[in-house]
C-alpha cells in the first residue's frame, strides 16, 4: 500500500473511532438515573417556569441527536459549553490545566525512556546476578500502582528527607519541573519496569543473532558491536512500546495528579465527577480520548517508518 493512501485510511479510521467514542461519552451521561434534569437541578425543586427555562437553556427541549451534533460542532471549535459548578467556560477551565498534565506526561516519558532503556541494557549485557536483581526490581516496579509509589515518595522524600515539595504545581518553568519531579516518578515507575523488560528481551535476542556472531568473530570491539549492530536493531520494539506507554500515561495522570494535588485535567475530571458537573466530564474525557488515540496513531506510523521491512499497513 502506498503512503498517502495508507495515511488517508488511518486518518479516516481515526475520525470514525473518535466520532463513535464521542457519541458514547455524550450519550452515556444522558442515561443517568433521573435524566439530565436531576443533575441540572441538583437538590433544588424548581417551579415549572424555572424547569422550562433550564430545559431551554441546555437545549433539552430539542431531540437528542440535534443536541449531540451541536455539542460536537461546538467542541470542534473548542467550545465545550459551560461548567454547572464553576459558571465558567469548560474550555477555559481545561486550557489552564492542560499545561500541567502535558508537562507531567512529557517529564514521565523522559524518565521512562532513560531509566527503562538503561535498566534493560544493564540486564541484557550483564547476565548473572545483576540480571536477576534487575529483573526482580522490574517485577516490583510493574506491580506497584502509581498511587502507592506516590504515597511512598511523599512520605520518604518530601516529609522525611525534605528534598522535594509535596503538593502544588509551583510557579515558573524551573520551579514547576522541580514540583513535578515526584509526580513524574510516581507516574513512570511501572512503565520503567515494562520498558526495561522489553529492552532486555529485545537486546538479548539481537545478541544471539548470526550477524552479531560474525562481527564478533571478525574481532570487532564489543562496544562497537553493541552500538552498531545490536542497539539499532533492538530499537524497533523499544520505540513502539515507548509510544504505547505514553498513551497509557495519559490515563495514569488522572490518578497521580490527585495524590500530589496538582491542578491538571485529571484532578479536574475527578472533582467534576464528584460534583456531577457533566459538561466538564464530557469535555475532559473527549480531550483525553483524543490525545490517547492520536498518540497511538503516531506510534503506529513511526513503527512503519523505522522498520523499512514493513510496508505501511502491515504494521498491525
Amino acid at each position: 500500500m502506498r503512503w498517502p493512501i495508507f495515511l488517508a485510511r488511518r486518518l479516516a479510521a481515526l475520525a470514525a473511532v473518535l466520532l463513535v467514542a464521542s457519541f458514547l461519552v455524550y450519550g452515556l451521561l444522558y442515561t443517568v438515573p433521573g435524566g439530565p434534569m436531576s443533575f441540572l437541578l441538583g437538590n433544588r425543586s424548581g417551579t415549572p417556569e424555572q424547569i422550562a427555562a433550564i430545559r431551554h437553556q441546555y437545549h433539552l427541549d430539542q431531540p437528542f441527536l440535534v443536541r449531540y451534533f451541536s455539542w460536537l460542532g461546538d467542541a470542534l471549535h473548542g467550545d465545550f459549553g459551560q461548567s454547572l459548578v464553576y459558571r465558567q467556560d469548560v474550555s477555559d477551565l481545561m486550557s489552564t490545566r492542560l499545561t500541567t498534565t502535558g508537562l507531567l506526561v512529557l517529564y514521565a516519558t523522559g524518565i521512562i525512556v532513560v531509566a527503562g532503556v538503561a535498566l534493560g541494557l544493564l540486564g541484557a549485557l550483564r547476565r548473572g546476578p545483576v540480571d536477576t536483581v534487575v529483573s526482580a526490581v522490574n517485577s516490583v516496579f510493574l506491580a506497584t500502582p502509581p498511587f502507592v509509589v506516590g504515597v511512598v515518595l511523599v512520605v520518604v522524600f518530601a516529609l522525611g528527607l525534605g528534598w522535594f515539595p509535596v503538593f502544588g504545581p509551583g510557579t515558573g518553568f524551573g520551579d514547576r519541573l522541580y514540583h513535578l519531579t515526584l509526580p513524574a516518578i510516581a507516574l513512570s515507575l511501572g512503565s520503567v519496569g515494562f520498558l526495561a523488560r522489553i529492552t532486555r528481551a529485545s537486546v538479548g535476542e539481537e545478541l544471539g543473532r548470526e550477524h552479531v556472531e560474525t562481527a564478533r568473530s571478525r574481532g570487532l570491539p564489543e562496544s562497537h558491536i553493541v552500538r552498531r549492530h545490536v542497539l539499532r536493531n533492538a530499537s524497533i520494539p523499544v520505540v513502539t512500546v515507548t509510544g504505547l506507554t505514553v498513551a497509557g500515561l495519559i490515563a495514569g495522570s488522572v490518578v497521580v495528579e490527585n495524590i500530589f494535588a496538582l491542578d491538571g485535567l485529571g484532578s479536574l475530571l475527578v472533582r467534576a465527577i464528584l460534583q456531577r458537573d457533566f459538561a466538564v466530564v464530557q469535555g475532559v474525557v473527549l480531550v483525553l480520548v483524543t490525545a490517547f488515540v492520536i498518540v497511538n496513531l503516531v506510534v503506529d506510523l513511526c513503527y512503519s517508518l523505522i522498520d523499512p521491512r514493513l510496508s505501511p499497513g502491515e504494521a498491525a
Binding site: 473511532v17 506491580a143 506497584t144 504515597v151 512520605v155 475527578v270
Partner: protein, 270 residues
C-alpha cells in the same frame, strides 16, 4: 500440571491461597471488629494487642486489612469474569462467522480500544455515582477488547484446523463445535490471559477507590486504606498506608508471576 509451574509459580499459588483463606475466614481470624472505632488506639503504633496499630479512628489495622482483602479482590474477580465471558463469546462469534459479523465486532472493539480503561470506568462512575457497581461495569467493558483480540486471533487459527472441518462434516452444529472443541482448546490461553489481566484489574480498582470513586468508607479496602492512611503518614504514622500498599504490591507480583508462568507454558506448548 502443578509441578510445571516451577518454584516461583508454586510460591505465587501458595501465597494467593493463604490470602484467599484469610479473607474468607476474616470474621474468625480477625482480632477485632474492623469498623469499631477506639479512640484510645487512634494512630497508635504497633502493640501486643494491636499488631499493626490503629488508624486515625483507632480501628485495628490488621483486622481492616483482613476484611479489606475481600472488597479489594472480589471487585477485580467479578471484572475479569465478566470481561472474559463477554470477550470470549464475542471473539469466538467473530472468528467463527467471519465476513460482516467479524467486521462489525472488530470495529466495535476498535472504538473501545480508543478509551483508556480508567477513563472509561470514570465515565460509568459519573453516570451511576461513586461505588463498586459503576467501577466494575466500566472496567469490565474496558478490559473486554483486550480479551477479545487475543482470543479472536487464536480462534481464527484454531478454526482452520482439520478437526473443526471434520466435526462440521459429521453434522455437528456450530454452537456444539465451539463449545465442545474450540473452547476447551483455547482454555489455557484464556486462563493465562485472565490471570494477567487480574493483576491490572487489582491496580485499577484500588486506584479508583483511592480516588474516592470506588469502594466507599467506612468499608475496608486496601486502596481506600492507602488514601486514608495518607493523613497518618503525614503525622509520622505511615503504618496503615504502607501495609495496605505493600499488600497490593505483593498480591499483584504474585498474580503477574503466575500469569507469566501460565503464559510461557502456553507458548512452549505451541
Amino acid at each position: 500440571m502443578r509441578t510445571r509451574l516451577g518454584p516461583t509459580g508454586l510460591a505465587a499459588v501458595a501465597l494467593l491461597a493463604v490470602i484467599a483463606v484469610v479473607s474468607t475466614c476474616a470474621p474468625l481470624l480477625a482480632p477485632y471488629d474492623p469498623d469499631r472505632p477506639d479512640l484510645l488506639n487512634a494512630l497508635a503504633g504497633s502493640t501486643g494487642s494491636h499488631l499493626l496499630g490503629g488508624d486515625a479512628l483507632g480501628r485495628d489495622i490488621l483486622s481492616r486489612l483482613m476484611f479489606g482483602a475481600r472488597t479489594t479482590l472480589l471487585g477485580p474477580l467479578i471484572t475479569i469474569a465478566l470481561s472474559t465471558v463477554v470477550g470470549t463469546a464475542l471473539a469466538i462469534t467473530a472468528a467463527w462467522s467471519g465476513g460482516r459479523v467479524d467486521a462489525v465486532i472488530s470495529r466495535l472493539l476498535d472504538v473501545l480500544f480508543a478509551v483508556p480503561g480508567i477513563v472509561f470506568a470514570l465515565v460509568t462512575v459519573a453516570v451511576l455515582g461513586p461505588g463498586m457497581t459503576g467501577v466494575v461495569i466500566g472496567l469490565s467493558v474496558a478490559y473486554m477488547p483486550y480479551v477479545a483480540r487475543v482470543v479472536r486471533s487464536a480462534a481464527l487459527r484454531e478454526r482452520n484446523l482439520p478437526y473443526v472441518a471434520a466435526a462440521w462434516l459429521q453434522g455437528r452444529s456450530a454452537v456444539a463445535i465451539c463449545w465442545r472443541h474450540l473452547l476447551p482448546n483455547l482454555r489455557p490461553l484464556i486462563v493465562a490471559q485472565s490471570v494477567s489481566a487480574f493483576g491490572f484489574a487489582i491496580i485499577d480498582l484500588a486506584a479508583i477507590s483511592f480516588l474516592g470513586l470506588g469502594v466507599q468508607p467506612p468499608s475496608a479496602d486496601w486502596g481506600l486504606m492507602v488514601k486514608s492512611g495518607l493523613d497518618g503518614a503525614m503525622r509520622g504514622r505511615p503504618m496503615e498506608a504502607i501495609s495496605a500498599g505493600v499488600l497490593i504490591v505483593v498480591v499483584v507480583v504474585a498474580v503477574t508471576a503466575l500469569g507469566d508462568r501460565l503464559g510461557s507454558r502456553q507458548g512452549g506448548a505451541r
